[in-house]
Symmetry: C2
Subunit: 257 residues, 2 copies
């Protein structure tokens, strides 16, 4: 099987112009097929604020109402996505930006309003793998933002980690997939304040004991679930680390079943 790199880059990395530029150069140099998935960062809240749109939170999680979905669509699928695509084109990487509506790439179901109504948030139900395969076969590098659609004209806000994991899992039937999560830390840390507490390898057993001990950070839980889901679907390799992990060996966290 051909190799396929799926790289997810987080919001904090995207917001730093120098880091994202050097990351994109490294990404463009990855050999073989590749797909980039990007998060959104904190700019959405800033724009909402400037436009006088309230951002509602329940249990620390954003509610995506119509006005906020509009801003997210403008920012993720517009500004961030197109600037990444333009920068990749400048370094001879033939990138193509996608929301989940484009080419019907990510079909999703709006999350049930019970027990909590998160608004226009979607859970991916189908990845259009044949569309991604066509693009890849043409030497095109898809760049996916974290927006899906319901197939009935509604765009939906979707977690970028989940987009990457679901895509990786779906592509694993046709490719030997490596899934890399790049963010502002060196990997999963025992102590979030201490970069030297990096955990080099986490398998299901260690993961469960970490949950018991309470040593896994809340935001890291869904990320880890995504990693295990991808591995269960046949993804070859899953790792979490700094943007440098796609260039050379640097310490990071390897996830295994």
């Amino acid at each position: 099987m051909d190799k396929l790199h799926i790289v997810k880059v987080g919001g904090n990395v995207i917001e730093n112009k120098k880091i994202i530029q050097s990351f994109l150069v490294d990404f463009s140099k990855l050999r073989g097929h590749k797909i980039l998935v990007h998060g959104g960062g904190k700019e959405a809240s800033k724009i909402s604020q400037k436009l006088g749109i309230l951002v509602q939170m329940i249990n620390g999680r954003r509610i995506t109402d119509a006005a906020n979905l509009e801003i997210i669509t403008m920012l993720y699928a517009g500004k961030i996505n197109k600037n990444i695509v333009g920068q990749l084109q400048a370094i001879q990487c033939n990138a193509l930006g996608l929301s989940g509506a484009d080419g019907n790439s990510f079909l999703a179901k709006k999350r049930s309003p019970k027990p909590i109504d998160f608004g226009f948030v979607g859970d991916v139900t189908k990845v259009n793998t044949s569309f991604f395969k066509i693009l890849i076969d043409q030497g095109i590098t898809p760049v996916c933002c974290a927006i899906s659609h319901d197939g009935a004209g509604q765009l939906l806000n979707t977690n970028a980690d989940t987009i990457a994991a679901t895509l990786a899992g779906s592509m694993a039937t046709e490719f030997e997939v490596t899934l890399s999560y790049c963010f502002e830390k060196n990997g999963v840390l025992e102590d979030i304040e201490d970069e030297s507490s990096l955990i080099p390898k986490i398998d299901l057993k260690t993961y469960k004991s970490m949950i018991k001990k309470g040593s896994i950070h809340s935001g890291m839980l869904p990320k880890m679930e995504n990693c295990f889901n991808a591995l269960r679907k046949g993804v070859n390799q899953v790792r979490i680390g700094s943007p440098k992990i796609i260039k050379k060996y640097v310490p990071h966290t390897k996830i295994e079943l």
Copy 2:
């Protein structure tokens, strides 16, 4: 040669929810290959205003500075483009939204700052026809917004009429192209206030005499130039009219050399 419909829909049509919805249904029903090009409308100015960004004008034309380019990118490539794509997907039209950076579809040169510096405005130098052909051959319907790129990482604001005409001209070597400009009027009017003054046919000779008489509206001049350029490059048919022209015969303006 296969037939290809290239339809450009203007800003005023886009801003009316009911009209755009019914237009998209008609567009989706067009037989054979098709590409949609859309304008932006007046929302960009509204968002600029809300965000406190000044819109500079010289001789009645907007200057696209960095802040305004950002808003245009968010609005055109983000909100407008993705909502059109989502709506087309809902009616079984497999649409794919594109800025000029995506798939390197529209390469442009930043306009010279002399005599007037219009800012980040680009004139298309190359259309990636083979990319469009690949998409079309896969049954995909490209949806293009009026943003190009310079190939060096810079997005550029580009006139949507020109995008449509240049695309049509470039595709004419491989397809029998019909180019339709759909806007809020029934076509080119002798008297802009009087819909009954519709001119059914304009050729180069009538066009020149209309310019002499001063009976052509200023905004219509570049649109007409685009039409003639497309015809010179081998486009089969060029027409200007209401969104209804793509559904059935309604009076409109036919442009001929």
